[in-house]
Subunit: 209 residues, 2 copies
């Protein structure tokens, strides 16, 4: 059963357990999905509301994207757990003979690529959620501005949480060219969201009630 | 049905909808509960593990507290929605006569007190989760250190998200003495967690693998 088909109580129970999955990567994906849902909520509380006629098209476009991101982040929640399980399975492969060691090594490196790409994708989706929270806070329903604020806060935390997992797996990755390109994507990602949180929170502080 | 008895997919759907509840307060409580669960997970991955004999008692104590906080945050998730619904119900009360206006006003002020206290309690629990993530990252299972990192990130975001809701309701609260005491609790809270995230992330960066 997919994690997102589980009850919240049960998912929290699995997370807290001594099973290594689900872990921080999946929790980050869920944090990002909560943020995406909050952006959609701000749009839904703005669409069709008096006084917001001028931003209907913009809010529809934001909602289309935040709903797509919500779907992607819930899929990545599952993918992160599978990627981590693949890494653990590779670590458990036998290594008595040279052939076994070689096969284990190849399996491990393949699994590590996936276990790096998945949290990086989570972080990239979270960055996009952050960028959607800004116009939602600035021009969406003023009564829901604080929801856009919670969205940007949770998305930023989830972004950095996912990057912790990228770094962990990157340390064991031997393909230096790939590792370098991932490091560059991480840097671009962090630079791309710089100041976004402060701008969203600034927009909320100014929202007249 | 309690929100935490719902499937994750369904909760995300309710959050995204044009219904004002659940909103950012409940999402913050869930973010805090995810963080508390991750702290418990680090403890569970440390208890009974070779090399960690010296910290068994400490990890048991942390887990007892993080599990209690997880329970409290899931209860506050429901309470936040109820508090907000009470505020909305008060706003909808009739105000044609002086008596009606007076009754509406009393109902509104009572509801606002609760709608301020609940997110403040969420923020206070999140601060405690942050303080538990530090010893978990420093002395818990090194393989799970990044999970303690995700915990501190999500708990900090949830803390500030909950405070956005406190501030929103505080603005309409007329009991100035109460408002002042709440402002003081907010300041103490933010000061109390200062530097915690950086210390947790620093401990992770140093964790030898």
């Amino acid at each position: 059963m997919a994690y997102t088909d589980q009850r919240i109580q049960d998912f929290l129970e699995f997370l807290a357990s001594s099973e290594p999955t689900p872990g921080g990567g999946s929790a980050s994906a869920l944090g990002g999905a909560l943020a995406a849902a909050l952006v959609s909520m701000v749009c839904n509380l703005t669409l069709g509301k008096k006084g917001y006629e001028a931003v209907q098209g913009e809010m529809e476009a934001i909602r289309a994207r935040s709903e797509a991101l919500r779907g992607e982040l819930t899929r990545l929640l599952e993918a992160d757990t599978q990627a981590y399980q693949r890494v653990m399975a590779a670590y458990r492969l036998p290594r008595r003979t040279a052939e076994e060691r070689e096969a284990r090594d190849a399996a491990l490196q393949g699994a590590l690529v996936e276990a790096t790409e998945v949290p990086l994708a989570i972080a990239e989706k979270c960055a996009e959620v952050m960028s959607l929270a800004l116009p939602a806070a600035q021009r969406g329903n003023r009564w829901a501005a604080s929801d856009a604020g919670v969205a940007v806060l949770l998305a930023e935390a989830a972004l950095h949480g996912a990057l912790l997992n990228v770094r962990t797996n990157l340390a064991s990755l031997r393909d230096e060219a790939l590792a370098q390109s991932i490091r560059e994507r991480m840097t671009a990602l962090v630079e791309g969201v710089e100041g976004l949180k402060e701008r969203v929170l600034g927009a909320i502080a100014q929202a007249p009630r």
